[in-house]
């Protein structure tokens, strides 16, 4: 069954027709031609498809497009401002926090979302129980970034690339 939905993607509104089986990821990649979010597993296990969905990070392969009519989506392609890379994007390049680049847009969106989650006081599995403020040390970064797999295994560079920006 086909359904018409509206998505606001990286600041631009799109009206599109999707199959009710179409994932948000496939709607972005195959219907709108926005291939910034990547398909690595299609099962929410690798994080390559991570986008900001109405402000919070989400694996777009586990979201059905039809369930998100009217949603605002930000991909890594939409993180730039006037053609300038987002500080996290710049930091990933400088630290060489990737090799093949396929997981990278998801890593960066995830890192952006994670900074917002920390600001909102969300604890992680390694946060000390009862802690009022989350101290963003390397263990916190590793834990909060572990939903994004990198087979080139740039983790030991992803951590300092994020730490650098988080410190501001």
């Amino acid at each position: 069954m086909d359904v018409e939905i509206t998505l606001r993607v990286d600041g631009t509104e799109h009206t599109l027709v999707v199959d009710t089986r179409t994932t948000l990821l496939d709607a972005l990649r195959e219907r709108l031609g926005n291939t910034s979010p990547k398909k690595g597993c299609d099962h929410g296990q690798c994080g390559a498809c991570t986008v900001l969905l109405d402000g919070w990070r989400a694996v777009s392969c586990l979201a059905l497009a039809v369930a998100h009519d009217g949603a605002t989506v930000i991909t890594a392609a939409g993180l730039t401002t006037n053609g300038e890379l987002h500080p996290l994007q710049r930091s990933f390049v400088i630290f060489d926090a990737f090799q093949c680049g396929y997981c990278t847009p998801g890593q960066i969106v995830s890192a952006v979302g994670r900074l917002d989650e920390v600001s909102a006081g969300w604890p992680s599995a390694v946060t000390a129980p009862g802690a009022v403020d989350v101290v963003l040390d390397d263990d916190e970064i590793r834990e909060r970034m572990s939903g994004n797999l990198c087979r080139c295994a740039a983790y030991a560079k992803i951590v300092p690339a994020i730490r650098e920006v988080a410190r501001g």
């Binding site: 031609g33 090799q99 087979r151 983790y155």
Partner: protein, 698 residues
């Protein structure tokens, strides 16, 4: 003759970096094409037998389906058999084999309709378990002529029995899947003008050759493009059924581009894997740890439709000298998919066994494991007697030990505890051969504006090719990187050997250096040293290396790790790794470091997590996704400290580069297993090192 490094060696940011961090670099599937159709495959649900019947009508009748392909209607290929011989007959050789395809207007319809195709089978018993004592083990055919499958010298049995110290142990490695983040993907378009393929591959020319051979096409009718590859690790060297299926589908719907991406689950049966191995290592030494006997045998598996064998023992006689030596390789043909090249094929598995055994020998000799390796470092190649073009294993061992803080280590196992964790340290050596693959040609077009177009159909798998080749071209032409316009990943450019065997940068770079020389010579000889107004284009092939016959060429390294093992649960953590390598001149110190670091981390993943589990009842890998086949995640990795020694090797390539894509994974698993022994007193000889093996050891 070598060239002077100016740009080479600099930590230049990845030139494709800005595009990749935005997700704008287009991988194969992502090329925008008009009216794409989508392919979804049908897979066999038995491991051995024949297809009795296929009912495709319900799938064909589904709205939006363009065609259904099976062996009943698929075109005959010009070359039969093997992994590429898809839909040619009713025979099933492994579970998951591609036996059909649905092509439809959308990916959703294709996938749904593929589930409507019904197959019945005449099933035969299957044989999918590799064991050491099974019948039918045979010596594999020679894969690479440089390395004999079996070698023998002296009296292994006699000297082993008489040795002052002896280690005789069996080690096992698991089945591993490459799992690049980007699945294998193809966009195939068949028109009257020919075939165009966007493919995720380690070699566009290999894909082109395969397409030409199977579909009987002339060279000017096939173009293959692969500018960015989302990881490969060996899985995208050889062509497999999926790419052939995509071409067949494109031919069935001429003019319509056909998009085909394997799912993560399908990759566990479609794209090859690192064979499991059962290895026996026998070491005999004098009381001072000097090897008298060195024997290493490996048993592995292949399929019934194609043979692939990796040399899990080929580096053994390169690492250490012993007057009495034997290496053997045996393979069993099972009802499984064919294994393939995976990062350091042979060395990676083999060095887990050899370097674990060396640790056991060090303990038996009451000798420091670093010192044991230094004592057995051969001055010349132990088999050929050739000098090494450079061999800095000892320098790596010493520098690694210093950086890690190894000296003074107490070798007593299970002697350090902190807050419920047992602490240990371990080390192992690394090596990888310095190969050359033939066939690379580079084209340089000099423009009157001082810019140079440099083209060679190389691949960037994340290996930094875009950046490193630009640096090499700049130094070869004695200009700045900004003056170079590099073109790779397209058969519109001259032939390139594949991105494999850690040879890419060496071979493509050498061809570029040769083309630059030819350009200069042509300019000086015919144009008075000035680029003519219409520009000048030259092509040159990678020349033979006169030193290749005189010297043994290898890279070396040493890895040191710290582990902690939870006393209650057996959980293993690796907070710190140090690797020091001797890999010649590093072309880009930023991207090169990432390669070594990535290799070591993949080695950690192999040591502790990865294990493709085959269900013997059905013959397939049951843990076929990222939730169950765990690859190291961010929280699994601690500090990874990578260094290289300043090695100048004038014999390998004009750039002094020796290749560094694979050596990082060699030895890591042994270093971790050795550290786990140091922490716990438990020797784990079968990977992965899971907590069950520590809580209830053999």
């Amino acid at each position: 003759m070598t060239i002077t490094p100016v740009a080479m060696g600099q930590p230049l940011d990845r030139l494709d970096g800005p595009d990749k961090v935005q997700g704008l670099a287009r991988y194969a599937f992502e090329h925008q094409v008009d009216r794409p159709a989508y392919l979804y495959p049908v897979q066999a649900t038995i491991a051995n037998g024949r297809i009795r019947s296929i009912v495709a009508a319900p799938a064909s009748a589904e709205p939006g389906v363009l065609t259904v392909l099976t062996h009943d209607n698929a075109p005959r290929l010009a070359v039969q058999g093997g992994e590429t011989g898809v839909l040619q007959c009713d025979r099933i050789a492994f579970r998951g084999q591609l036996v059909g395809a649905v092509v439809a207007e959308t990916s959703e319809v294709a996938r749904y309709a593929a589930g409507l195709v019904r197959l019945t089978y005449d099933e035969l018993p299957h044989d999918v378990e590799l064991t050491a004592d099974r019948a039918g083990l045979r010596t594999p055919a020679q894969v690479i002529p440089l390395f004999p499958m079996d070698t023998e010298q002296g009296d292994v049995e006699g000297t082993l029995a008489a040795a002052a110290v002896m280690v005789d142990r069996t080690y096992r490695t698991a089945m591993y899947h490459h799992n690049p983040m980007e699945p294998h993907t193809t966009v195939a378009t068949w028109t009257d003008d020919g075939l165009t393929l966007y493919v995720s591959t380690q070699s566009v020319y290999a894909v082109k050759r395969t397409a030409m051979q199977l579909f009987d096409l002339p060279p000017d009718r096939v173009r293959v493009i692969s500018r960015y590859v989302g990881g490969a690790f060996g899985a995208k060297v050889y062509q497999r059924a999926e790419i052939v299926l995509a071409i067949m589908a494109a031919r069935a719907v001429p003019g319509r581009p056909v998009r085909f991406a394997l799912t993560r689950q399908q990759m566990f049966s479609q794209v090859g894997y690192r064979t499991p191995t059962i290895q026996r290592v026998q070491l005999g030494a004098d009381a001072g740890g000097r090897l008298v006997t060195l024997a290493h045998g490996s048993i592995e598996q292949t399929s019934t439709i194609e043979e692939f064998a990796e040399h899990a023992t080929r580096m053994t006689p390169v690492m250490y000298a012993a007057p009495n030596r034997r290496t053997t390789q045996r393979v069993a043909a099972l009802d499984v998919p064919t294994p393939t090249i995976m990062r350091a094929p042979g060395e990676c598995s083999g060095m887990f066994a050899l370097e674990s055994a060396m640790d056991e020998l060090a303990i038996a000799c009451n000798l420091d494991p670093v010192e044991l390796r230094i004592r057995n470092d051969p001055p010349t190649h132990p088999v050929t007697g050739q000098p090494f073009s450079s061999r800095n294993l000892v320098a790596c061992l010493r520098e690694g030990a210093r950086r890690f803080g190894w000296p003074g280590r107490d070798a007593t196992p299970r002697a350090r505890r902190r807050a419920g964790w047992l602490l240990g340290t371990g080390m192992a050596a690394s090596t990888y051969p310095t190969f050359r693959l033939p066939g690379s040609v580079a084209r340089i077009s000099a423009g009157p504006d001082g810019r140079y177009a440099v083209q060679v159909a190389a691949a960037d798998l994340g290996t930094g090719t875009w950046t490193a080749l630009t640096q090499i071209a700049a130094d070869a032409l004695e200009v700045s990187c900004a003056d170079i316009e590099l073109g790779i990943g397209d058969t519109a450019y001259p032939m390139a050997s594949e991105a494999g065997a850690s040879t890419g940068i060496m071979c493509w770079g050498t061809a570029i250096v040769e083309a630059a020389r030819k350009l200069r010579k042509t300019l000086d000889g015919q144009h008075g040293g000035t680029v003519p107004p219409e520009g000048l284009t030259v092509e040159a092939a990678m020349p033979d290396n006169e030193y290749a016959k005189q010297y043994a060429m290898h890279t070396f390294g040493a890895q040191f790790v710290e582990v902690r093992v939870n006393e209650e649960t057996g959980e293993v953590r690796v907070p710190r790794m140090v690797g020091v390598f001797a890999v010649g001149r590093v072309m880009n110190s930023k991207t090169g470091l990432s390669q070594l670091l990535g290799g070591m981390t993949m080695g950690l993943s192999m040591a502790l997590f990865e294990n493709s589990v085959v269900d013997a009842r059905f013959g397939h890998v049951v843990n076929h996704d990222f939730a169950q086949y765990h690859i190291a995640s961010n929280a699994d990795v601690g500090s990874v400290d990578v260094h290289w020694i300043d090695e100048h090797d004038p014999y390998v390539t004009p750039m002094g580069a020796k290749g560094m894509g694979e050596i990082g994974i060699v030895g890591t698993a042994a270093a971790i297993a050795n550290a786990v022994y140091h922490a716990t007193g438990v020797r784990v000889r079968e990977l992965p090192i899971t907590l069950d093996k520590l809580l209830s050891p053999e």
